[in-house]
Symmetry: C2
Subunit: 143 residues, 2 copies
């Protein structure tokens, strides 16, 4: 268990918001594993233990987690919005298989530094990288 609670609470206080029970439950469930997630999956997981947390609150809490830099949107090319931890994870890019859905995570220092360079040239301030590709994984190629 990291200190996401600390980070989140500090953020909430700075905005005059409160670390309520539902927000705590959502935060803890989000950080119970390190996988990519979407709202539906998160909702099911939360509901197994806490029958009283609503979809609406999940949808309302996620932007707060994003704003506090604990998570970020990722896998932008899928149908539903997906998210992943920012806190405690190094930068990486995704190779997504269009056949089986497999997601390969790859370290991306080089790619990002190039993007940084290009952004600098255009005096553009990057807030969120979006680097990756869709295609066919090795297993699916052999079919």
């Amino acid at each position: 268990m990291g200190n996401e609670n600390f980070v989140f609470e500090r953020y909430l206080i700075s905005k005059g918001l409160k670390l309520t029970k539902p927000r705590k439950i959502i935060l803890n469930t989000v950080f119970a594993t390190h996988e990519h997630f979407n709202v539906d999956g998160l909702y099911d997981k939360i509901r197994k233990k806490h029958k009283d947390v609503s979809r609406a609150t999940i949808y309302r809490t996620i932007p707060l987690l994003v704003e506090s830099s604990l998570i970020k949107q990722s896998l932008r090319c899928l149908a539903k919005d997906h998210y992943e931890h920012t806190y405690g994870h190094s930068r990486h890019l995704h190779l997504i298989c269009e056949k089986c859905g497999k997601i390969i995570e790859v370290e991306s220092k080089e790619a990002e530094s190039i993007l940084n360079k290009l952004a600098k040239k255009h005096d553009f301030k990057i807030r969120e990288f979006n680097i990756g590709a869709k295609g066919i994984c090795n297993k699916c190629q052999k079919k």
Copy 2:
């Protein structure tokens, strides 16, 4: 005017499909300019001249244009699906301003070759690159 018509017709024939009037109108409107587009904008533009092309047909034709490699989906991080020409355009990445919506296009040989290298290492066959960033453009930074 390029020969997108040729490319499209060849693709359609290869699939046993026909280059009908609505499909021609859609193709020509898509290639009348070189900008990114989404279905709503395209629909409005088409409707100014042709009151008889439906949204449904536009939604049905776009995958055909994608399949024939004339266009591809892009700007994956926006709310609506956006597309841009593949035919007649070199590869590039996008820096998208979250304040004003400005889109900066940047040549990306380096970034892509790095992604290609990483994909090769994982024996992953890339079909579509997705490289870019969101942030704040230089004008919007000065506010």
